[in-house]
Amino acid sequence: MRENLKFILTKAVEFILTLLVVSFFTFAAFSILPGDTASVILGPEATPEQIDSLRQELGLDKPMVEQYLNWLAGTFSGNLGQSTAFNVPVSSLIAQRLPVTLGMCALALIIVIGVSYPMAILSSRKPFHLADQVFSIIGHIAFAIPPFVLSLLLILLFSNLFGYFAVGQYYAPTDNFGGYLNSLLLPSVCIAIPKIAMIFKFLRSSIITEKASDYIKTSKAHGLSDFSILIRHVLPNTNVSAITVVSIVLSDIIGGSLIVEQVFNLPGLGRLLLMGISRRDFPLLSGMVFYLALATVIIYFVADILNNLVDPRMRLK
């Protein structure tokens, strides 16, 4: 127990250090970029005096270090500044859109795990036999189709042809939870399909390797059934490496969601990001980049903790 706590604390320190580095690069990137926030807000007709006074108001005339520290303090307390394009706080903009992207990613992750594990278990029962070959071919095809093509295909099929889903409609989870799930399901499937192919391929070979290991032979000699060997030995050992792979895929899913949102016309972070870019809304962009980085760092942090819980060799020397 003490080792666990110590490990989590060390990881937490690493986590905070990583965030500081990320925050520095985010701030530096947007400070170096050409284009002055004050002149963007005031437009091309503004006089130099007007710009100067706005710069003073926004704190842009202060030294870089001070600006960074102010921005950092704001960021960690949730105040990301005022969006220049929408004229509302960046944090409320992000908070508004977060349920869409978050829900979609969570749903996609559930689908990926829920589908790829059974597929891999079935496939590895008899490698290179019928089920395995069929799944492998489907996997290759799924992996090869770009998400936006897949999105269009699925819209055609399920929305236009069968009319199961109303594409383009979105309900807030607090208003209509069923509608919320319904509006996110199809986009989640689009994000999930290529990832299922990826995770399936990894799990399949990992399960086959584990099944050939010596301790499986020991368990067979102990008289365990194939099912208990799978549950007690094969899957836990597969999970050790699967956790790392799934965490990489999850950060990929977040990236993928930004594109799919466009196709499905969902009011998520992806569209916010695009609007921010087209209107040169630096506070919005730096806030979003930082929160996306935060999400990624959190994923790896959680993966590390999980790995540590699953694998005793990590925590005990």
């Binding site: 301790y215 032979k217 368990s219 000699a221 102990h222 008289g223 050992n237 694998d311 005793p312 005990l316």
Partner: protein
């Protein structure tokens, strides 16, 4: 204790049993050929033979742990008079762990790394219907005491990586014996262990066989182990038994030429003569001078433990042409010493003076130190590339062919891949990889322990010819005292990371002064004696 109700004297009877494996080149390849074998209840029955003779497949057939692609071609196996082959898979599975226990060769990898010992042992009981948690725990504690853990409480919560190889093998024996099986199949249970641990495991198995009335089927390629442990022995070749009988009779006066040749090879009779290895001249400049050297493994960043020294304060000299033996139990630092000398680890203290010498290294497991995705040609060119030796095509070709001939491999094998070679051949490839640079010093780290007696003898005579031809010195690290005693001129005994004793071989072996050396020699003496020597 034992089920006395069954009528037959023999616990296992194998009748005309044939087994085949599908092979890409030959259709069905026979592995066992009309095998007949019966094992008397309560006895310890050894099966021996070279790699690939079918001894493991015999054991796995009884345990119904054959690979899926194996196909049984005929015959029958009776266990307690009951046909195993006509049983349904479910009841066959339930026999395992209950009536038939099995232990395997590799104690290091035979336990699930994620599972505590209590859970690993508990699953045997759970899968055979024991549900009460207290009962499970008390049974495990009892068995852990039987297999020699004085403090079973402390072991229950451990993970496998926290235990030594010998301890893990004891855990595996405990698992196999938990439900007091009538037959225990031991597949090379001691091949991965050092001599001292081997003897302790053999003594444990023998005492369990007597006190619990367990019949043992003991598979081993090591005739010394078989000789000191088994009541009966069967010698296998090409999937059939060619000789069997009481161990002392078979090993003392073998009836077939094959058994005789196996015995000779295991005693190294045919390869050893007085001038088998060159005698060094101690007045020459040493090849290698190590003084007060310490070495070990790096700690981790953000960890208090910065560096863990495995070997401390090592000092010795090696002379040209010399064969220097390094002996000691597992974990004494032998391999760390080898790694430090060849440069895989950096010494943390002390000095190591190598007088401009090219070193070659041969490791223990030839299967895992060759790259499976490249052929032998690639492996032999690798050292040349690493040393940036530029040769013309013709010179390279000649060098490659000469090297292959020297290690007794056909030049056509250059295009083969590691998996297409046998263990002995792979070890010779590893030696060829050293040899191609004409090293003055070869470090051989347990080069024989994964080989059967015949291959070991071949590799040994190869090392001898290299020693003669190129005056190459050999640092031979081994826990096989038998081989070391025959080939080394000087010997160093290591224990817990230091050299506890060193000197001329004859002196150290005749009158060891350190406890480590005494233990090793005592274990070796037991190994070379008859079954009654084990307590």
């Amino acid at each position: 204790m034992n089920k006395s109700s069954s009528k037959s004297v023999n616990i296992i009877e194998i009748k005309d049993f044939s087994l085949c494996f599908p092979s890409k080149t030959e259709g069905m390849k026979p592995v066992l050929n009309k095998l007949n074998l019966s094992i008397k209840r309560g006895s310890i029955f050894g099966v021996t033979g070279n790699s690939g003779c079918g001894k493991t497949m015999t054991a796995m057939s009884i345990a119904s742990l054959l690979p899926k692609e194996a196909s049984i071609q005929g015959g029958d196996i009776l266990f307690n008079g009951q046909s195993l082959l006509s049983m349904d898979p479910h009841s066959r599975r339930l026999l395992l762990g209950d009536k038939i226990g099995v232990i395997f060769q590799e104690p290091m990898s035979a336990l699930d790394p994620l599972m505590r010992i209590e859970a690993a042992l508990g699953e045997v009981l759970i899968s055979h219907g024991v549900k009460d948690k207290n009962e499970i725990r008390s049974k495990i504690m009892e068995m852990l005491k039987v297999v020699g853990f004085k403090n079973p409480d402390a072991i229950l919560n451990r993970y496998p990586h926290q235990l030594s190889g010998g301890q893990r093998q004891r855990i595996l024996i405990a698992g196999a014996a938990l439900l007091k099986p009538s037959l225990l199949i031991c597949d090379e249970p001691t091949s991965a262990l050092d001599t001292v641990t081997t003897i302790s495991i053999l003594e444990l198995l023998r005492s369990m066989s007597i006190s619990m009335g367990i019949t043992m089927l003991f598979i081993s390629h090591d005739l010394n182990v078989v000789g000191c442990f088994c009541d009966y022995v069967a010698v296998m070749k090409d999937g059939a038994i060619i000789e069997k009988g009481i161990t002392s009779r078979v090993l003392r006066s073998p009836q077939t030429p094959y058994t005789l040749s196996l015995l000779r090879k295991s005693r190294l009779d045919n390869v050893l003569s007085n001038d088998f290895f060159l005698k060094p001249n101690y007045s020459e400049t040493p090849l290698l001078e190590v003084s007060n050297m310490s070495s070990g493994y790096d700690g981790r960043l953000f960890s208090r433990q910065k560096h863990a020294n495995v070997i401390h304060d090592i000092s010795f000299k090696m002379y040209p042409k010399e064969v220097l033996g390094v002996i000691g139990g597992s974990g004494c630092g032998k391999t760390t010493l080898a790694k430090t000398i060849c440069g895989l680890l950096t010494p943390t203290a002390g000095t190591m003076l190598l007088n401009d010498v090219i070193i070659g290294v041969v490791f223990q497991d030839p299967a895992s130190c060759l790259n499976p995705s490249h052929n032998i040609l690639w492996h032999l060119l690798e050292p040349l590339k690493a040393k940036k030796i530029k040769l013309s095509k013709l010179e390279t070709r000649e060098l490659l062919i000469a090297t292959m001939k020297e290690v007794n491999l056909k030049p056509s094998y250059l295009l083969r891949y590691p998996h297409q070679l046998s263990g002995g051949q792979r070890q010779r490839v590893a030696i060829a990889m050293c040899l191609i640079l004409k090293p003055k010093l070869i470090i051989a780290d347990e080069p024989f322990s994964s080989l059967d007696a015949s291959s070991a003898a071949n590799v040994l005579s190869l090392l001898s010819s290299i020693n003669h031809k190129y005056n190459t010195a050999i640092l031979l690290i081994s826990h096989n005292l038998h081989i070391v005693s025959k080939v080394a001129s000087r010997v160093m005994v290591m224990d817990s990371g230091t050299i506890v004793e060193s000197g001329q071989l004859s002196e150290v072996f005749a009158s060891p002064s350190s406890q480590a050396a005494k233990d090793l020699l005592e274990a070796e003496r037991k190994l070379n004696s008859n079954p009654n020597a084990l307590s």
